[in-house]
C-alpha cells in the first residue's frame, strides 16, 4: 500500500533510489545535494536498503566508480553545481560506454550556492538524458522512471533527474510513497549491460574490438548515442504512461506538461520550480481573461522538438524563461533550442526570452505575469523590445 509522508525534496530523491533497489551508491557531500546521500546512508545503516555505499574522495571518483559499477549492478550517485562540473570528464565516458547510470542533480549555480541551471546546462552535450522536476513528488516519481528509461534496450543512456536546490531540496511537502512490490513490478531487476565477467572474455573482447576497430566509422559511437537519445522520446512517453497506470500519476506526456493551453494565443515556456510558480501566474491571468498558457519542459534531453512544433503551430507567441545563459549566443539555452525546433514550421510564432532566476534570484508570480503580458502583446502583433531581456 502506498503511504503519505511529509518530506523534503532530497528525501524524496533518496526514496527513489531506495525503491529502485540500487546496489551501488557513491557519495560525496555538496550543498544542496548532501542530505540525499545522508538519507541513503541512514537507510543502509538501518537495513532498509541493501547496497554498497562508498564514501568517495570527490565527485570525479563518484562518477567514475558509479560508471564501472553500472556495468554490473544498478547504481546511483547525486551531486550539485561544482560537483557536477567536476564530473564532466567521466560523464562523457559513461555515455560512451552506454551505461544506464542514474544520477540526481540538485541544481546549484556555478557561483554561490543558490540554484540555476548552469550546472546541468554545462553538461548539455555529454549525451546524458536530463529530466527536470517541479516538486518533491515529481522528484520521487521521476527518479523511479529514470531507471526504467535509462535501462530500456532502445535507450541505454545515463540519465539525470533534477530539481532546484533549496526550493525543492529543503522544502517539505506531502509525498505519496509507492509500495515496494509495485515499484518492483514496474521496474524489473537490473540486467547487466556488459559482458564483464572473466568467463565472458570472448564476448567482452568482441565488444572491445568492435569499439576499437579502426575500420569502423569513428563517428558511429555518436551516431548510435543520437539514435538512442531520439528513441528516448518514445520510451519516456511510454514509461510515463505506464507509471500512470501503476501509480495514478503522470507528468504531461513525459516530455512536456501543457498547463491550461487550450485555446490560448500565447504560451510561456519554463522548467523546474519556475514552471510551478508560473502555474499560479497562469491561473490568475486566465481568471482575468488572458489567453495565455504554460508549457513546462520536463525532458530537456531529449528535447521535445515535436511537441514544440505542434504547440508552436497553434499559438502566436512563445515567451521562454531561461534559468541559464549561454554567453555569446542571442538568448538562453532553452530559447535557442526551442527556436531551432520551430524553424521548420511554415508559420512561426514570435519568440521572446527572459533570463530569470540566475543564482537563485527570486522569480515571483508578478514577474511571470509581466513576462506573460509581454508575450501576449507580441501575440497581438505589437512590437516588443527587447527580444531577449534580463528579468
Amino acid at each position: 500500500m502506498a503511504k503519505f509522508e511529509v518530506m523534503v525534496g532530497n528525501k524524496a530523491v533518496a526514496y527513489a533510489a531506495k525503491l529502485a533497489r540500487v546496489k551501488y551508491v557513491s557519495a560525496f557531500p555538496i550543498t544542496p545535494q548532501t542530505t540525499i546521500v545522508q538519507y541513503l546512508a541512514d537507510m543502509i545503516a538501518n537495513g532498509e536498503l541493501d547496497a554498497d555505499y562508498v564514501n568517495m574522495e570527490g565527485e570525479l571518483s563518484c562518477q567514475s566508480s558509479a560508471m564501472t559499477a553500472a556495468t554490473t549492478v544498478r547504481s546511483f550517485t547525486a551531486t550539485s553545481g561544482p560537483g557536477l562540473l567536476y564530473m564532466h570528464h567521466p560523464m562523457h565516458m559513461t555515455t560512451w560506454a552506454r551505461l544506464p547510470l542514474v544520477m540526481a542533480v540538485v541544481h546549484r549555480s556555478t557561483k554561490g550556492m543558490q540554484p540555476d541551471q548552469m550546472d546541468t546546462m554545462s553538461q548539455r552535450d555529454t549525451g546524458w538524458l536530463m529530466i527536470e522536476c517541479q516538486n518533491s513528488q515529481e522528484l520521487l516519481d521521476t527518479g523511479i522512471m529514470s531507471f526504467k528509461i535509462a535501462e530500456d534496450e532502445r535507450v541505454r543512456l545515463p540519465t539525470i533527474f533534477m530539481g532546484d536546490g533549496y526550493i525543492l531540496s529543503y522544502t517539505s511537502e506531502p509525498v505519496e510513497l509507492p509500495a515496494q512490490e509495485e515499484v518492483d513490478a514496474f521496474l524489473p531487476p537490473y540486467k547487466r549491460p556488459y559482458p564483464m565477467f572473466p568467463e565472458e572474455a570472448k564476448e567482452a573482447m568482441a565488444l572491445m574490438s568492435q569499439m576499437w576497430n579502426p575500420f569502423v566509422d569513428p563517428q558511429n559511437v555518436w551516431k548510435q548515442q543520437q539514435e538512442a537519445a531520439m528513441n528516448a522520446k518514445t520510451v519516456i512517453r511510454e514509461v510515463n504512461a505506464e507509471f500512470e497506470k501503476w501509480f495514478g500519476r503522470s507528468y504531461g506526456n513525459g516530455l512536456v506538461e501543457e498547463y491550461k493551453c487550450e485555446g490560448v494565443e500565447a504560451v510561456l515556456v519554463a522548467m523546474g520550480t519556475i514552471a510551478s510558480t508560473a502555474k499560479t501566474a497562469i491561473d490568475q491571468l486566465q481568471r482575468d481573461g488572458r489567453k495565455v498558457g504554460l508549457v513546462a519542459i520536463k525532458s530537456f534531453k531529449p528535447f521535445p522538438d515535436d511537441d514544440f512544433q505542434r504547440i508552436g503551430a497553434d499559438v502566436k507567441a512563445m515567451g521562454v524563461i531561461d534559468r541559464n545563459v549561454s554567453t555569446g549566443t542571442l538568448g538562453g539555452i532553452t530559447f535557442t533550442e526551442l527556436r531551432h525546433s520551430l524553424y521548420d514550421l511554415d508559420e512561426r510564432p514570435m519568440t521572446l526570452n527572459f533570463h530569470a532566476g540566475m543564482r537563485g534570484k527570486e522569480v515571483r508570480v508578478e514577474d511571470i505575469k509581466r513576462m506573460a503580458e509581454k508575450t501576449l502583446k507580441a501575440a497581438r502583433g505589437e512590437k516588443v523590445t527587447p527580444l531577449v531581456e534580463w528579468a
Binding site: 568517495m56 574522495e57 567514475s64 567521466p90 559482458p195 572473466p198 572474455a201 567482452a204 573482447m205
Partner: protein, 297 residues
Amino acid sequence: MSKPVPLSKLDEKEFIVPANSACQGCAGSIVARIVSKVIGEDMVRQEVACCGPAFGNITQPVFYGEVFEGAGAMMTGFARAFNRLGRDDIRVTGIIGDGGTTDIGFQGLSASAERNEDMLWVCYDNEAYMNTGGQRSSATTKFAATTTTPVGEFSRGKKERKKPLPILVGVHRVPYMATASVAYPEDFIGKLQYAKPVKGFRFIQVSAPCPTGWNYDPRYSVKVAKEMVLSGLWPLYEVVEGALRITYKPKELKPVKDVLRSQGRFRHITDEEVDEIQGEVDEFWGRLQEKDGGPLF
C-alpha cells in the same frame, strides 16, 4: 611473504596476444605478459590512458576508461559490484602507468588504499609520460632529461627527486605493497602470486625501462632494469600489513654512475650530480636495511 617463482613454473597458457603496437624493447609488455599469466582466467582489467593499450592486448575482459585520472575509482566500482554479486573470485587488476598512478591518479590511488578496496594495482614505472612523448612525471629520477625537462644552458633536466611512491602507499597500511622489476621475473611472479588471493588493496610498482624515452638501445631494457636493482636505484622490497622486507639484497651495491651514464637521458650529468644521486641511493638503501624485517614506520 612472497617466494620467488620462475616463469618456467607457470602454466604455459598465454593471455597476451603476440602482436602489439608497443615500441621495440618495451618493458611494459613484459609486465603485461607476467601479470596476465599469473592472474590469468580470474582477471578483469582496468586500463586508463597510457601505453598500456599499445602493449597490453590481453584476451581477458578489459574496461578502457579514457578517464586517465580515474583508475582507483573505476576499479572501486568494479570490485564493489562484483563482490556484491558474490563474484569475489574475480581479480580486479589495473596495469597503470606511473603518471596515472603517482600524478593525475594519485588522489584515487590514496583513496582506494585508504578504503582498502579489493583491487590489485600494478604500476609499470617507466618514469615519464611515455605515451604522450616522454614528458616528466613525479616518478622521473632527478636530472633526467625528458621532453618537458630538457637539458640546455639553463636547465639540468628534472629538478626534483623521484616521488617515493612505494613508501607512500606502504604507510597507508594496505594488506600488500611491493616493488618489482622486469629484470627479476621470479621475484615479481612470487609477489603477484602472493598478492593474488589477498583481499583488499594490493599494490606493486614495477620498474619498466623505456628505450624510447630513456634513450638506450632497445635490446638492453632488461639489462638496464637489472642494473637499477643492482645499484640500489630500484631496490626490491615488500610491505605486508606495515612490515617491511627486502626481497633481494645485492651483496654490494654497484655504483650508480655507470648505470646512469648508460642511459641517454643522463648522458649530460656531471660527477657532482652523480654524487648527489649516489648519496640519496646510499641513504635510502641504508634506511631500508635498518627497517628490514620490522615495521615500515
